[in-house]
């Protein structure tokens, strides 16, 4: 065996520097990403406070926040600030990525969609010369087969389902939640008349099934949106043992929260 052949077969000892769980503190852009993601905590916190008020109304113990509730006004103001932060960042990024595909799921052209250029008749199939390649590749990959070369690799429908709700939730929350928090959380206690100013107004407003539906959809989509972001944040912070368990915990909590909100909203007069 020659030296060259021995060198060829000797395994290479590589070194890989671990990333560490504090990576998001190392760059300003990483940190701002983390802030962007954690805005959901404040959005959920305010909605949970709101659901507690609905519960108070249900059990006839509702007391509207007043101008003396400094702590509550500060809490609402902080929530409003981060909800607006969410609104600006989310809508900015959505505007960057959103395309409106018509007709095809993955558009092959944008500007000229519908206008077809000359495409002559097609005559023959692609050549069959490479028929032995799959078998060769299979043999080569036998030792360690990466996920992307497995024969059964397929789209993750579960991920796309949650991402669909996440995207819609982000948009709905960005548009509606700041208004709700501003009116009921900040302006209300400061003395501006609103739908939560006393239990009579609150009950009258909630008496409309469309209002109930709106609030339920707002809670549902915001909770799922938050669950999705928290799932990724916890992963970022080092919870990488079981992504499946992490997803069950986060999305499960969002669904349980939505069920609780539905029961509260629809059993309150």
């Amino acid at each position: 065996v020659s030296d060259a052949a021995e060198l060829e077969t000797r395994p290479v000892r590589t070194y890989r520097r671990p990333l560490g769980n504090d990576w998001w503190l190392r760059r300003r852009s990483y940190f701002l990403y983390m802030v962007r993601e954690s805005t959901v905590i404040f959005m959920v916190a305010w909605l949970v406070w709101f659901l507690f008020q609905v519960a108070a109304l249900k059990f006839a113990s509702y007391e509207p926040p007043t101008i003396d509730d400094y702590a509550f006004i500060a809490f609402s103001a902080v929530c409003l600030f981060f909800t607006l932060w969410h609104a600006v960042t989310f809508l900015n990024l959505s505007g960057l990525i959103l395309r409106v595909p018509i007709g095809r799921s993955i558009p092959s052209s944008g500007g000229d969609q519908g206008r077809r250029l000359r495409r002559p008749p097609l005559r023959h199939r692609r050549g069959g010369r490479d028929h032995d390649l799959p078998r060769l590749r299979e043999a080569l990959m036998a030792a360690h087969e990466p996920w992307h070369s497995r024969a059964d690799v397929k789209p993750a429908y579960g991920h796309s389902f949650w991402w669909f709700l996440f995207g819609n939730g982000g948009g709905i929350a960005a548009v509606f939640l700041p208004v709700v928090i501003l009116v009921a959380g900040v302006l209300g206690p400061l003395g501006v008349k609103n739908w939560m100013e006393d239990s009579a107004h609150f009950a009258w407003t909630l008496g409309n099934p469309l209002v109930k539906l709106f609030l339920l959809v707002l809670c549902f989509l915001t909770f799922v949106h938050a669950a999705h972001r928290i799932r990724y944040m916890l992963f970022d912070l080092g919870l990488r043992g079981s992504v499946v368990a992490l997803e069950w915990a986060c999305y499960g909590a969002a669904i349980l929260g939505t069920i609780a909100a539905a029961i509260l909203l629809f059993t309150t007069p």
Binding site: L93, R99, I106, D112, L122, V153, P155
Partner: protein, 248 residues
Amino acid sequence: LPEFVDVTVQRYNPETDDKPRYQTYQVPYRADWVVLDAILYIKDHLDATLSYRWSCRMGICGSCGMNVDGYPKLTCSTHLREYRQGLTIEPLANFPVIRDLVVDIDDFMAKLKSVKPWIVRELEQPLGAGEYLQSNNQIDNFRQFSSCINCMLCYAACPVYGMENEFLGPAAIALARRYNLDSRDEGAEERVKVLAASEGIWECSFVGECSAACPKGVDPAKAIQQTKFDTVNGFVMGAMLMPFGNRR
């Protein structure tokens, strides 16, 4: 009067070292030098044992990507004068280091190939039928994604790839998007299997640093989110319009 700049380089010899060490060289300072010139100077005049990759010196081959002061850069396109106080050069982050500044790129190459970054046709049209025509608008659709030079700076900037190496990664998805958006291409359905797998687009949490790091103005973060949107849209539209349709 010669001026000098301290260049600290990460060294790693797989045969003797358990982990990398740092070595500092005094390199003459020239205002018109790029970082790669400093590395070439070290190799030629100070230490011939230093290993690194480079080729074109004009920002198009994508070989000389390294972490300069902790951030992925093409060393041939980064001026030494930006680091007058000294600099630290490390191999691209998130990749296994083979030796000194050389990283193992096999993982990226396999992932790149898995998304078929070439034009896929169900039926190839015969040569006699002429070229496939494209309008300027159709080219503008994918032009920026086609500027990718496979330098892997985006992988070094991506914390998700750093945490989870199975992630398909920014450049591979951007190039898949480039061909999905090409009016001549018909391979979207083949690519979506890999693109939309759990380890594909869904791993991305949109930190967006890949787009900031790209030296060629490609926006991989945008490509990934657009692919998510189109994939979801395809599933939703498919489920609503053709609930019992043939799911190929």
